[in-house]
Symmetry: C2
Subunit: 210 residues, 2 copies
C-alpha cells in the first residue's frame, strides 16, 4: 500500500490520525497541494480526481477518498475498532461522523476556501480554476460552525466522546475540523467548556500529532 | 422500528429505495417539511436535529441521518448487500457513494435550496431561519453538477454500475441526486449517453418508485 497525502491539509490528517490509532505503518508520499502538485500528470494518473488523500492498494486499486480509506483499514485491521462493534454502534458512529462532517467539516472548508487568498478561483477542491470564492458562503460557514460548536457542547455534556463512551472516527473528524477552522479565525466559543475539555483530551492522544 | 420521513424530500428517498431493495417493511410516519412539521415540539422530541429521515429503534435510539440508517439496516438485514461484500468492495462503494454525495447530491441541494422560494431564509437544512439564500452558490451548484455528470459518464462508460458490476447504495445516491436536481432545472446533458442509459435502467427497478 502507498498513501498519497499532504501534511498541511485537513483531509489527509483525518486519515493519518486514523492510521496512528490503528498502529499501522504505511509508506507515504507528499503531494504538495500548495504548489498544485495534485494537478500534475503524474498524480492525475494515480488519482484522476486530483485530491489527497489517496490510498493505492497492492493490486493498484486507488481509494481516493478519506472515509473510504478508513473503511478499508477498519476492515483489514479491525483492532482497535474506530467505526463500531455492532450494528447499533456502527450506525451511531456513522451518524455522528457524518454530522461532524456535514455540519462541521464542510462548514469549516466553506469558511476557509471562500476567504483564504490561496484558494482564489478555486472554491471547490480538485478543480483547477474558474470557481470564484463566495464571501457570503465563507460567512455562512462561520455561522454554521457556531451552531456546530453549540450542538457538540450539548452532546459532550452527556457523553465522554462524540458517538458514545469510546473514541471513534467521529472524534477524529470533529477534532480535525476544529483545528482546521482556526485558519479562518474560528475558535471554540468561551461558553463551550465541554468542547474545550474534550478537544484538549483528544489533543493529548499520541495520534493527534500525526 | 419506526421511520420518520417525507415523501417529497430527497434524503428520505435514499432510505426508502434502500429499504425497498432490502425487501424490509418498516412502519413510517410522514413529517411534512413543506409545512415545517420538522420543527414541531413533537418531532423535536424524536429528532432534535429537525431533519428527516430518522429511524427510531425499538430501544428508543434515534438514528437521524440517512446513511447511518442504511448502515444499520445493512448490518441487521445483510442480504442483498448494498454496501459491499469484502474490504475492497466496501471501500470502493464508500468512495463512490461519498463522491456521489459530496460532488453531486450536495451540489444539487445547493442549487435547489439557494434558489427555490420555499427555502427563503433557510439555506441550510434543519435551521428555522436566518440563513439567507446565496444565488452565487446556486450557480456554483449547477456548475458542480455539470462536472458530476461528466465524471459519472466517464465512469459508466466502463462500468455497469457506479461502484462496480453490482447495484449498490452509490447508485441510489446518484439516482436520487439526478432526479432531485430536476427541481433546479438541471437535466442530464445530451452528451452523457452513459448516464442516461444507467439512469433509465435504475429507474426501471421496482425500488425506484419507493
Amino acid at each position: 500500500m502507498k498513501l498519497y497525502e499532504f501534511s498541511l491539509a485537513p483531509g489527509p490528517r483525518r486519515v493519518r490520525i486514523f492510521i496512528a490509532e490503528k498502529g499501522i505503518e504505511i509508506p507515504s508520499v507528499q503531494i504538495n497541494t500548495r504548489e498544485r502538485q495534485q494537478f500534475s500528470d503524474e498524480y492525475r494518473a494515480v488519482n484522476p480526481n486530483c485530491v489527497v488523500p489517496a490510498l493505492v492498494l497492492d493490486d493498484g486499486t486507488c481509494l481516493g477518498e478519506s472515509v473510504a480509506i478508513c473503511r478499508y483499514l477498519e476492515e483489514t485491521h479491525p483492532e482497535p475498532k474506530l467505526m463500531g462493534r455492532d450494528a447499533k454502534e456502527k450506525a451511531l458512529i456513522e451518524m455522528w461522523n457524518r454530522q461532524a462532517e456535514l455540519e462541521g467539516y464542510l462548514a469549516a472548508v466553506d469558511a476557509v476556501r471562500n476567504s483564504a487568498p490561496m484558494f482564489e478561483g478555486r472554491g471547490v477542491a480538485g478543480v483547477t480554476g474558474g470557481v470564484p470564492q463566495i464571501p457570503a458562503l465563507a460567512e455562512r460557514g462561520k455561522q454554521s460552525m457556531g451552531r456546530f460548536f453549540a450542538k457538540l457542547d450539548g452532546r459532550l455534556a452527556d457523553s465522554s466522546h462524540l458517538a458514545g463512551d469510546r473514541f471513534s472516527i467521529a472524534d477524529i473528524t470533529a477534532f480535525v475540523t476544529i483545528d482546521f477552522a482556526k485558519r479562518a479565525e474560528i475558535e471554540i466559543p468561551e461558553d463551550c467548556a465541554n468542547v474545550a475539555r474534550w478537544f484538549a483530551a483528544v489533543g493529548e492522544r499520541p495520534s493527534a500529532s500525526a
